[in-house]
Amino acid sequence: MAMIECSDLLREYSDYKDGLMAPSRAASVETHLRRCSSCARYHTVVVRGIEEFRSLPGIEPSSDFLGRLQHRLYDDQAEMSMWARRDSSMTSVGLVVLLVLLIGAVSWVPVLQVDTARVNTARMELPPAVAIAPPTPSPVLFRAAPLLSPSPPYAIARPASNSFFIGHAAVGTHVAYRPPPLLTPR
């Protein structure tokens, strides 16, 4: 008979208590229990404690338990029937929508189709080519302005009496101008 230690008993105790241990091993455990007061005490406490636990009064179900369960089953079955009907109606609606989309898609096919054969053989009439020159800034003719008066913050181009300046004037730009000397007429 193999000797066992306290640690062995603790590890294998459930097998022993529940009758799952090999007979020879169980005999070794019983021998150890006879010799070891600590393990014997442990065994006693577990057995008596579990006896007390099993003897605890159980709780009785409430008197209306079955009635309440019946109501809940009613509600549950009614809800499941409602969902089943909703699922089937949703399926029908979904099928109809799918069918409509399919018909719509099929009806657009002729519009989107390009008759390639006709394109290849047809002579396309193109309009005559017209060369268009890029826009050039328009010339601006104005007379030379007199000396600028200091008060205005901006210069105003005013034509002088007998002098001309040809230049470009962009919209919104300030023009500060110093008039050239007067030309003497020939």
């Binding site: 442990y42 008596r48 007390e52 636990f53 338990f65 019946q70 089953l73 009613y74």
Partner: protein, 213 residues
């Protein structure tokens, strides 16, 4: 509860009116009868298991009121899915599995709200809420005190076990389930069941030992 001719669930069977044939059927026979159209067989299954399941869930969660709700939910799920139940398996294992999972979910949800957990445990362990028990007149007063205190210690010891240890402990010690059944109910292998049961017994013994001098 009177039989109802318009009862779509077929559930409302009075105990006096149901045929005695249902009493004699085992669980698999009742399941087959129900699936064959005998709705009152479901009533018989409920009456067989609702008391045990309520106590199992109560010992697992510590909340008596909630335990009845959870057992009702268990039977609703049984009613919904009985047509898919594998009749080669044991009905009791299946129904305990459902109840155990609901109890586990309840504990998990409760762990997220410690206040609810505290209130539930306090409510159930309050001495004023305990049912009256007839005392044994042959006991001396100190013996009665020790006996009552021992019971409280035993209940407290079980409630203090970790959730997964407590479930295995209750299924084995209170419900008498085999290791294989416990493994199936808790979705663990046999080695894990043995390990958890061993640890549960060890923890249990450490708590109750002082009261067993």
């Amino acid at each position: 509860m009177a039989l109802s001719g318009t009862d779509p669930t077929g559930f409302g069977a009075a105990s006096e009116a149901k045929p005695t044939a249902l009493d004699t059927l085992d669980d698999s026979g009742l399941v087959a009868a129900f699936l064959g159209g005998e709705k009152r067989a479901f009533t018989e299954l409920v009456e067989r298991y609702h008391g045990r399941l309520i106590n199992f869930v109560y010992r697992t969660t510590g909340d008596r009121e909630r335990s009845e709700d959870l057992v009702q939910e268990t039977f609703i799920r049984v009613y919904r899915h009985l047509h898919r139940f594998d009749q080669s398996k044991k009905f009791s294992t299946w129904v305990y599995t459902i109840a155990s999972n609901l109890a586990k979910n309840e504990l998990r949800n409760r762990s997220r709200n410690p206040l609810i957990l505290f209130q539930a445990i306090k409510r159930n362990w309050d001495a004023d809420d305990r049912p009256l028990e007839w005392e044994d007149n042959t006991y001396r007063p100190d013996d009665l005190y020790r006996k009552r205190h021992l019971r409280q210690m035993v209940e407290a010891a079980v409630s203090k076990l970790p959730d997964h240890h407590r479930t295995v402990f209750i299924l084995r010690e209170m419900e008498g389930k085999t290791y294989e059944e416990i493994a199936e109910i808790t979705d663990c292998n046999l080695g894990t069941v043995k390990s958890r049961l061993n640890r549960a017994r060890n923890s249990f013994a450490q708590i109750v030992e002082p009261m067993l001098q």
